[in-house]
């Protein structure tokens, strides 16, 4: 018995289209989640106390339950509360909500890691709160949290595989199905692993370039 990858590559167009679905859902949900996560962390820091508690509860629930279960609830439970979504919108929403919770925690830690003196120095020269957030906190935080954000994005790349359970036509669903139909399941899974590894390495590479560009802004030591 030997592996025969041709059985899989015969269906290349389907695989490429699934590859595309995986990538765009991953990119769009992560971009949305970075902005939403930043918003959540900022609201929790500067908003009223009740909002902080509410958002904290939501973040804890999302972080405290498996992504798989959340997706099931969203896709199969959604219709019970009038939220009937097709697989792709449901997957995109699920990915975005799940990663927003994690990104918000990364940004919250980032806010806390900025020395209070940097804000005081800004207050002393007359910057308003909005100017301090825009001009000081956001740029400083960006360079502090970039490595964690890259890490999070990589984790979420692999989480896209879970979208297959709600029939989003992404890589895992499509390649897995092809593997079953062609009686080449091991080949399919092996290729899948390679695909994800390639994507993860690619994003890691891009992340390292960004970090290198930002490294000159690293925190000064006295």
């Amino acid at each position: 018995m030997s592996l025969d990858f041709d059985l899989i590559f015969e269906r290349l167009p389907e695989i490429l289209s699934a590859f595309w679905v995986t990538i765009w859902i991953w990119v769009v949900s992560n971009i949305l989640a970075v902005f939403l996560g930043f918003g959540v962390a900022t609201l929790r820091r500067y908003g009223p106390r009740w909002l902080d508690l509410l958002l904290r509860l939501l973040v804890e629930i999302i972080r405290g339950t498996p992504f798989l279960v959340q997706l099931f609830l969203l896709y199969f439970g959604g219709p019970f509360i009038g939220l009937s979504l097709d697989p792709i919108p449901a997957g995109l929403l699920g990915m975005t909500v799940y990663s927003t919770a994690y990104y918000s925690e990364i940004f919250r830690a980032g806010y806390n890691a900025i020395p209070p003196g940097h804000v005081e120095a800004a207050q002393c020269v007359g910057l308003t709160r909005g100017q301090i957030i825009r001009r000081i906190l956001v740029p400083e935080m960006t360079m502090l949290v970039l490595p964690q954000c890259v890490n999070m994005a990589i984790l979420m790349m692999k989480e896209t595989a879970i979208l297959s359970i709600i029939t989003v036509p992404e890589l895992t669903l499509v390649v897995g199905a092809i593997g079953s139909q062609q009686y080449a399941f091991v080949e399919a899974m092996f290729l899948l692993a390679l695909f994800y590894w390639f994507l993860v390495e690619l994003s890691g590479f891009l992340g390292r370039i960004a970090e290198a560009k930002l490294s000159k802004f690293r925190f000064a030591h006295s």
Partner: protein
């Protein structure tokens, strides 16, 4: 007599149940250098931070050139909080230099110095850069404008921080232990800049452990102990022997830590 640059009247400050300042009265004459000395925990940094409005006093009034900072006297013994626009206006006359420099790491030296000119004063980038370069030259760093803080030594960072404060042309400069996080070899360059500023007539309040600097540059020495102002006078008076026993004790422990045994 001209109005003092800073007037502190019966200022109290508590953090929770701990009273750090227990009724401070102080007048800082315009164009003078006042050095605040005192042991750790005596409240000297807290007092300075209150004058910078980084801490809000629990009671009492602080005036900058006669204008109330943060809280105004209501006349019947109470006080009222002023609107934040009013606070920013009075505060704009004060510059602050921190122990930890607190430069913004994502901006160059020039960017740090010009940030408030562009963002707060709405100056054109070109005009702001002109001022920024002039201020960097004033602290001897005209060739470091395009360096990021991480690329500068501690002494250079602190001089950039001084230039950042000077760029806004404050009437009063506050220094919170400006040399305490520097290598001993780098304190000189910062103290020299401060000496020049004092010579140029800038009103300065300096919290520092540099007793030598205080004795030679200070027009006025203030000694705080346990939240109270124990001594207030010109250095010739304060350091003259016989000294106040508490000051004598402070200076002895200070020398113990240093090179006294080598002398």
């Amino acid at each position: 007599m001209t109005r003092p640059a800073v007037t502190v009247r019966d200022v109290h400050k508590s953090f929770g149940k701990t009273e750090v300042l227990k009724g401070i009265d102080l007048a800082v004459p315009s164009g003078s250098t006042t050095c605040i000395l005192g042991p750790s925990g005596s409240g000297k940094s807290t007092l300075l931070r209150c004058i910078a409005f980084l801490e809000e006093t629990t009671s009492g009034i602080i005036e900058i050139h006669g204008e109330p900072l943060g809280f105004a006297d209501t006349g019947d013994g109470g006080r009222t909080r002023l609107p934040s626009s009013e606070i920013r206006k009075v505060r704009a006359r004060i510059g602050m230099v921190f122990q930890q420099f607190n430069l913004w790491p994502h901006m160059t030296a020039l960017g740090n110095v010009t940030e408030a000119l562009v963002t707060v004063r709405k100056m054109k980038r070109k005009d702001a850069n002109e001022i920024g370069e002039a201020q960097l030259a004033r602290v001897g760093l005209s060739d470091r404008g395009h360096h990021y803080p991480a690329e500068l030594s501690g002494g250079q960072q602190q001089r950039v921080a001084i230039a950042r404060a000077l760029a806004l042309e404050p009437d009063i400069l506050l220094f919170d232990e400006p040399t305490s996080s520097l290598d001993p070899e780098l304190t000189g360059e910062v103290l020299n800049v401060m000496r020049e500023l004092a010579g140029g007539g800038m009103t300065m309040i300096v919290v520092s452990h540099e007793i030598g600097f205080a004795a030679s540059v200070g027009d006025k020495i203030v000694f705080l102990d346990e939240g109270k102002l124990l001594l207030d006078g010109p250095p010739s008076e304060i350091f003259a022997t016989p000294r106040h026993p508490r000051l004598q004790q402070f200076m002895e422990t200070y020398l113990d830590r240093g090179a006294a045994t080598l002398l």
